[in-house]
Subunit: 348 residues, 4 copies
């Protein structure tokens, strides 16, 4: 049995992680760490876990590394994570970090957006970006994985095939993203008050959102071109789910419903995605006129994708559960790859 | 033009008050007071008011009474209100207070439930309970009105006819109440976080809610019997609206669908309510099998009521908008009565 | 492997059933039957199942019994079920029926409420009521189980301990029930239109709801007294979840917070429930001031219960997921008991 | 008093129309027409109107034109409207039509998208597009107004200033639109079932939505260039509200936060919009980092707009209430202009 710990156990993502791990036949949750000193039971923080997991949470304030774990999921906020991760790595504990602290290969990019000096250069160099559909081989050998952001997961999965194949321009890509409120985190703030979110939709961070540079960085690295996106996120009155509507410009003249040889027909593009994602167990491609609905992916680790070639642009729609494929499900998927389990274990 | 001020202008009830008053042909909002020192525009706090009311809010920290108002709506929390109300009364400004501070005629009852000594005995003696359907004549002559609680308005209006007529036992009355989240107020707290309220329903204050003694107190006073209720409120995933489902025990053997002479037929009970509320412009009685829906009363000052005689109990259903008939609409209705305007002005 | 079939595969409860069964290590779904002739894939009807179950649905119009199943879950509407169930019983296939057709032991009671003559008297006599917490031993030996209604499950589980122990009067029990909209079924109707349900709450079937006689019938039978309840259901703007708030009258003078020997203290009542439900894996009792929240039970087979002794009544709160413990989870729990599996299999 | 009638009185837009007109001091609702023969009271169809308007609805099946109206609001579906409108025009009754039947100046464009031959060529030639901010002078003299679509209103208002000034390319404009469910209409269908819409977001009509040609047609006409947009609408889990996020490409090199002379700074663009919309009473421009929230415009006739100049594109955000500024409020605004009332009457 792999012994796992969750450091930052009171986050919404941690609740989802626990629910998945409780079903995982190869792992046992042996440690829960929180930035509190009162040792609450996890089932007092999340009553839904009562009789499922009644473990007590230990304090991490002293920065002591638990002895009884083989792998740590770290769900602390960005700039905090990097204070803890090296301690675990030094004890030969594998780490999957949920924050942005290990997603960038370029330290300066991180520092510009998170306005903090990165304290773990070594970690940032060795960490692997935890998107198995694109980096599976690297994750297999990794000891430290930077789990991707939620919006970034949906966007990168949607764009990778077209960019890898060089079918669309890498710049002037429009990403209009929509997310449920759990993406905002658990802390009570004015903008997560029920009456501020309910019966309302609004855009935010229009000037620049932290996921923008992450998306551009990873896609540029992986597809060898300078990717530049326009990213506008919106808050939707629902608990969970992300839908990204992406508009990319085809490199050659487009044809709508053309013969089987033009790369810019719905048929050909669909085929491209099918081949690119092969047997990747968590990518589902919609057929015909169907578009992805977040309700079909919530509570699952699936990413549903649809593509539509129109007169001017290729529209790609991509739906995930921000807490699962956008965080905890993906983390378990990474763990499965790192530890040699079937990639679907605990997730289907 | 009657000049009105709102003291506590950042509350949800204040926003509703402003929207109603802007439509009222006889009044002008000349003063907004807040417990802040930064003099924000009200339309910065409530962007929906931009171009409708851009007045700046004045600080009330110094407890100075504005000179330019004839009537004050005070929307401060309980125990705070009573520090301000006497100052206004002394300046001959009429006051409608939204808190519980002036709802009780019995000081000790207030002190037991709000755990604070009441500092304005004189006010508590002279104040009138602001439920026009029951206390219209007193309100006409009042200088100080204690605006009722939201749950209490719905419950008292539902029960008054049956209790006045002595048709039901005044004890063992069950009141199962349901309210939208705006009833919780504007301050961000764990239990008003969108993800805690959405897709969820729960009861609270099961042991005793502050509206319980208020309901019993007012109904006992008005109907000359010792009224005792069992009151359990629930939080519903919607912005606004209250539905109370009330179960009262008929005093004599009941008859379901009987002849026209038994007082306990749907027909007779309906007639009783019709006569009791006469031309009260804001009570609407449902007919036949229709039950009140909160969506039919939200954004209005109506209270929709239905009664159903069953084998064992009389069931009364009562729906209001907690922010309007449960607070701000009722306050304007009280103002209309106090100032000699048609009771419906600004409200229909 | 136990081979199971679902007859009526397009219902919301069928989707939940499939999701649970896909995780059940002892069963395999080998047959899906629908009242259609076009043989759709189940993943076309429920896109969330794509890549999880792509089985085609067979028509049941001809009333042919499939050869490849050992146990059938029948999710057809009441009065339709009883046309199919006997066909399966005759072929020695175990049946768990979701409708009301096999819940009553008294045929006339069924016929009065469902206004249809029951065509399977033998079935009605031999069927067992599928509430394991109360009827586990009978279910073990049953070949035909009538799966309880959703409201009835929540209500019976809440009241059984107090009634069995004779601590409350069996009449004048008030049951105020609240349910999410999935309880209304999948068919588009005016009253399930998003805009009619959202931001609204209303009571319905105030005069009498079909679950009323079912609750009274089962509780009367099981506790040997004539139980009579006042049941009023309400529609809540959420997908799923049921909360019942129940008010029962204690048989002796009540005491609030009394010594440890009075049966009517919170402590003693809590103890009674703990003993009554013993190791029943799906009943969770709330402690202290906590009340059940539907969000803690949705997507689980748990029933969370809290009890509160007040001056006048004992208030019992009971929360379940109407689709899981109120239908499909309970059905799998029954299957586990009937087939000798651990009762929790597939459900935790 | 202007006597008005509503033909198609059971639509959601008709309910909103009635609520606005009941507050309008210059008009009286004298006629309600429906495609039914049972003469229901409007307050039976919309219980919220009880005691506000209890008028009976007359049948329009015989196509008789009522004698007692001066102006007709026609809220019938497209292709049906055009069967009725000429009858009213012939009787010198002014008409404001809510459908698409009179929005296009090009008959062939209408016929291509609505797949029906237009039967009222004369009407289509003389009708005026009912967007006062752009066509006020024409509306003043109009006898027949085609009330714009909801998405089109939000989009055209957002883009007009930039296109009129020639600051952005008229092609490759991306319009990502989001709407509440009332935009789908009142009829119960699978895709408006509460459980299908709640906790979900999805795109639809990705290949082409009927509002696309309308937007291009009107903007092309008004700004004298061939405007081509990519339009993707999405269904949002809320009752009402539309947010459009629009991405337009600036014609010259862009500068972020430049000096006051470049036309492509936030400051200059904001100034452009301010000048363009002048004293138009219903356009509100957001300042600084604020973005439009649909909750600030619902239940009002306002359109809130924000513009943001980014590295690559100009992002314009536009929020309206689909039922008010997107339909009924705009219709009353048009009526005010047509009949010489202050444009804000009944709307503020």
């Amino acid at each position: 049995m792999l012994r796992v710990g969750i450091i930052g156990a009171t986050a919404y993502t941690s609740l989802e992680l626990i629910k998945i791990l409780l079903r995982h036949p190869e792992v046992k949750i042996t440690y829960l760490g929180v930035r509190r000193t009162d040792r609450p039971r996890i089932s007092d923080i999340f009553p839904t876990l009562k009789n499922l997991l009644d473990l007590k949470c230990e304090t991490i304030e002293q920065k002591e590394v638990p002895e009884n774990i083989d792998l740590a999921f770290i769900t602390l906020p960005p700039t905090i994570s990097m204070q803890y991760v090296p301690l675990f790595i030094q004890k030969s504990i594998k780490v999957i970090d949920f924050s942005a602290d290990y997603r960038f290969r370029d330290k300066s990019l991180y520092e510009r957006w998170y306005k903090t000096q990165h304290t773990d250069s070594k970690g940032i160099e060795t960490a692997v970006y935890g998107l198995p559909e694109l980096f599976r081989e690297k994750i297999k050998k990794a000891r430290l994985v930077g789990n991707p952001g939620c919006y970034t997961t949906a966007t990168i999965l949607a764009l990778a095939p077209l960019l890898m194949k060089g079918l669309v321009f890498p710049e002037d890509i429009i990403v209009d993203a929509k997310s449920g409120v759990s993406g905002r985190g658990r802390e009570p703030k004015e903008d997560t008050h029920y009456c501020e979110c309910n019966e309302n939709i609004e855009a935010y961070s229009v000037g620049g959102h932290r996921h923008s540079p992450e998306i551009e960085h990873i896609l540029s690295m992986r597809t060898n071109q300078k990717v530049s996106i326009q990213f506008v996120p919106h808050l939707i009155p629902m608990n969970r789910g992300i839908l990204c509507t992406i508009y990319a410009k085809p490199k050659h003249g487009m044809t709508v419903g053309a013969n089987g040889h033009s790369p810019f027909s719905d048929h050909e593009v669909h085929k491209l995605y099918k081949e690119f994602y092969g047997n990747g167990p968590f990518i589902r491609l919609k057929e015909g006129h169907e578009t992805p609905r977040t309700k079909d992916v919530t509570y699952t680790n699936f990413c549903d994708i649809a593509t539509k070639v129109t007169e001017n642009r290729i529209v790609i729609l991509s739906a995930i559960d921000n807490l699962i494929k956008g965080a905890s499900g993906q983390a378990v998927q990474n763990m499965n790859v790192m530890c040699g389990f079937d990639e679907k274990t605990g997730l289907l």
